[in-house]
Subunit: 202 residues, 4 copies
């Protein structure tokens, strides 16, 4: 049997090569997934010309369709986003809006093409907001057909009104490292089950 | 093999025998689950003396432990809540807080006792708020170990600033009926998979 | 001219005399308000028999009407709530639901009786969730007629997945202390302006 | 005394000349503000090359600084956004992120340059999500110094899972029209008070 595939979308506002805490978290998650035998790819969304919109292809040089292809080939999709004002980044929201198009995309038996895929959410900020960002991402992704394993979200934030970043740590904070591992394990378990046992058609 | 079991918690603010739109939605979901062979039970939370708190047993006549036992015996937990001010009801929040205790409850292999259970969310209001209520419930339940099948939420709300209730309809609005059915199908599929294939221990 | 009055509602889940971080934050805010000449009262909601509901009086020993009277006599209402699962406490939600009744309560000129009153929000948790709790409270209170001064929210939370409480500090964390002071100053300024200049009738 | 000024930012995903429900709502609000003597300007954000970021000027052809200048000259800022997946649009989030820079911008006396400005929120969708979008915008704007009058939000959404748009109506739905009017009245009242009575310096 072929390996599971995971796509990790980094939703930082800053293009490469700027350092990014959310990319760092994505890399941490990627390592956990790889150790479970998953083939992974990390895409930093703002390095590509993704257009605002709610269709699968907004035309005119839109680079979402290429990212979408990777998503369709993956069993796991992880959204990794910074927190701004206690909320997901605009880039993360742009990605969710593009995924909204999947509501109208169905296979021969009428299931959304996302059915059987498993979502994950990784969140970093220098303070406060992770639970809410996870809630927004879970709901958006579940709406468009993604399933969620137990403890699908992982995060790091610092103390209230502080300015330390995830990337300022020499190594992954212990609790976050443990949560990354759990999230990867449950997601992989669920993705394997669903690959072998697709949801029934209506 | 024994049947799957589902517990549906109605989070209306009004004790029986008041009519309740969220109970009505729970009954609609219950019927869909029963048609898929699930043994169901509906509990209207405010009919019981559930105490505020974040432990499994707040002592002193607390009736949460009895509801908790039913939850632990179930494969599926559905939260059915009205919307107030665009948000989940306080009773729904009280239930989530009591479920927060499950973070510290683990089996012999260190998994939360909720691992392998599947969550569902049903929301009704006379206007606006369902997506946000679903997001709050998904995140809270996922945090404490519940998994989610594709399209785990179902809802009905009316047009902005109107006052028609779910219970004012002679029959279930068509779109909501279809969504109830889908949510039940995916939840049952996932609950069956996870019952036979529990998440690995850490 | 008489002094401004402020009512601070503590929305902890635990009755007195349990120690409560949200009560402690309320006391910190109270001190700031008093220094600006405001007459204050702190009410710990669960010490009273407040019923679930969305009316001004749910009958049957309901103690909300007494709290509501204090609110109606106040120029400033501060909700002080703990965070559970990244969300406002169920007690805070219960208070918002009771305030929902104010939508139908109007003065002789058709203004809600809350018009001209100023809201504040204080949030504590051992980790993450303050911004979202503030957003839920701002929206709920604004919906039912409260106004908000600049920086109406104040909070303290610790680093991700930690367990230190606000009440574990020997003194108020510096940033939170500064924010408490700013929130009190802007609220008092606005409450004074609105007392002397009520919103026009429709 | 000079007239009050209001800037209305339309956060649709679609550039002009596409029809936009959120622009239509902005125009409705604009008319109400004009009737109260306010000088208004409507800007459709995606018609301009606004960069992702959290500074006042992201360089490189960034057109946010021009919009920011209009904001700084205005007494009222209205965010008008569509709902996607029950959440504010990514364009709305991008605007909030750019406004996050105002946290570090202060006048000679240490007040944020937004102090004294009044926020408004207008939301349209074909179904569900307005309250949550309002809550996200209130919190984000209040965080960076905006004040809010009673009933600062206005909206229209249709019945659950339907597809009628605000722009499909021949005239503004009655309840929304009344709410637009109220929101404009309270915002103008508050903006006038705060223009004449700025918040005290720390």
């Amino acid at each position: 049997m072929t390996d599971l595939r995971a796509l990790l979308l980094v939703c930082t506002l800053k293009p490469s090569p700027s350092e990014s805490s959310s990319e760092l978290l994505a890399r941490d998650l990627e390592r956990e997934l790889q150790q479970l035998g998953v083939v992974t790819e990390v895409v930093r969304v703002v390095d590509h010309d993704v257009k605002f919109g709610v269709s699968t292809d907004e035309g005119d040089g839109d680079e979402w369709p290429a990212i979408r292809s990777k998503m369709l080939e993956s069993n796991i999709l992880a959204l990794c986003t910074p927190i701004w004002m206690g909320q997901p980044s605009s880039v993360c929201k742009m990605v969710l809006e593009r995924l909204d198009a999947e509501l109208s995309e169905t296979d021969d038996e009428g299931r959304m093409t996302t059915y059987g895929k498993v979502g994950m959410v990784g969140v970093v900020g220098n303070e406060d907001g992770a639970h809410h960002v996870i809630s927004e991402c879970l709901q958006g992704l579940n709406d468009v057909g993604f399933s969620f394993a137990a403890n699908a979200g992982t995060y790091w934030v610092g103390e209230a009104m502080q300015s330390v970043d995830y990337k300022d740590h020499d190594e992954t904070p212990e609790k976050t490292a443990a949560t990354n591992k759990t999230a990867a394990q449950t997601a992989v378990h669920l993705a394997r089950l669903l690959r072998e046992n697709q949801y029934p058609a209506d």
